[in-house]
Symmetry: C2
Subunit: 224 residues, 2 copies
DNA sequence: CGTCGTTGGATAGCTTCACTATCCATGATT
DNA sequence: AATCATGGATAGTGAAGCTATCCAACGACG
């Protein structure tokens, strides 16, 4: 298909597709003449993925390129590629080094990780993300001790277990890697949205607002 | 204290503080002469809060103003103010209205909320956030059915329950509201970072990477 | 009292990001 | 052959989040 058709089928303007091509987010099309190129279904899929990462996952364009490059890096093993890809995702500012709040946060983080039985991996960008967020909370005197953070860790463990199970029963390894990254990014807003909805419900329940909703979940079992 | 001291104590440049004053994120100082103003501890605290929301919570400056304004709106009840404040937090693009993927996502969302026994609140911005994320997943043929989303919902419920308990045992009502907003925003990176760490550990465990860490947590029981 | 550095308000400028619009040589279509 | 579409190169746009410059009024000091 031509650029125009790619644009129509994806709902992305040709100007934007050209921009993504320039930025290396999409591989160039198969050159059919000196001035025309041909794109296939794979391009369409990739374009949709990029779009989802950028718009839904709020990943910067430059970062998306890094992430997708890491996924396709043939020279590394699966786990390393996944680590590299997820590691280049946005992870906020680095923690302020010489700050007492940072020191406290480091300590809390280490303690939580120990209690959860995950090792201590300060080289993981997510660790810095955790520490700087805890430091910001500490600086404002908000509760952020081990006991406060642990429930989040337990919830995260449950989620990760579920996610890895889902990923394992997917198709090819390449697809699997891409899927792992896509699910990591695209389920973030799902999780955050559900948390906000849960908060709203819980706040309503506790402080009694407007129309009460049913208190017990009606579910009996889950069916894929 | 003067602007310069406020700057020094917060680590934020005077230029940036002036910018926040202009944007209405900080209330103006007490004017002591025609050309000089005096700031107090409350300003310092507020500045730190703004900084945390903007830098750690990735809340746009304009949005932070709306959120903080809503928190201080004396004309509404607690739950409404909280709803207004959290509702003006960033929530991604609105779901594409005439898209089949959106329709499927709406259905999944409704089903999940039903199974969890939370009502259906399409007016909540978090609901749109949930639907557009699910739609993006669906468009890419990634698993996003009810059974896949439900575990996130359960995790969110556990988290929200913990959070409301924490908020309830805080001080004054005004502080409580501000705390609710701050905790909502500032625990987002905590949760996401822990999820990524949990994923990394789980991936390592399943696909056997590098130095294995202890498999059982050293704690004895969990307190849900 | 005059000088000189400091303060803080106003204004304009800068940088990054994510696109978007224009040009134009070539190629396809009628 | 005449006209329209394609796609690469280049420059421009607008929002966001600061940052730098001016400048009149203060205020501490000699």
């Amino acid at each position: 298909m031509r650029l125009a058709e790619l644009s129509e089928r994806s709902g992305v303007s040709t100007a934007t597709i050209k921009y993504y091509l320039r930025e290396g987010l999409l591989p160039p099309g198969r050159r059919v003449t000196a001035t025309q190129a041909e794109y296939d279904e794979e391009h369409l899929r990739r374009l949709r993925l990029v779009r989802a990462l950028v718009q839904v996952g709020r990943v910067p364009v430059a970062t998306a390129r890094e992430v997708l490059t890491a996924v396709e890096d043939e020279t590394a093993g699966q786990v390393d590629r996944l680590g590299a890809a997820v590691g280049s995702l946005p992870h906020g500012p680095a923690p302020a080094p010489a700050d007492p709040a940072t020191a406290t946060a480091e300590h809390t983080a280490a303690e939580v990780l120990r209690l959860l039985g995950w090792g201590h991996h300060p080289e993981n960008p997510a660790h810095g993300m955790l520490v700087s967020a805890l430091a910001a909370l500490g600086r404002l005197d908000y509760p952020c001790g081990t006991a406060h953070v642990l429930p989040y860790g337990r919830a995260a463990a449950a989620i990760a277990e579920h996610e890895l199970a889902v990923i394992e029963e997917l198709d090819a390894p390449t697809t699997q890697l891409e899927a792992a990254v896509a699910l990591t990014v695209l389920y973030e807003p799902v999780l955050l949205a559900l948390r906000r909805l849960a908060q709203a419900r819980e706040a309503g329940r506790r402080f009694g607002s407007g129309p009460e909703t049913n208190d017990d979940p009606p579910h009996e079992a889950e069916g894929r």
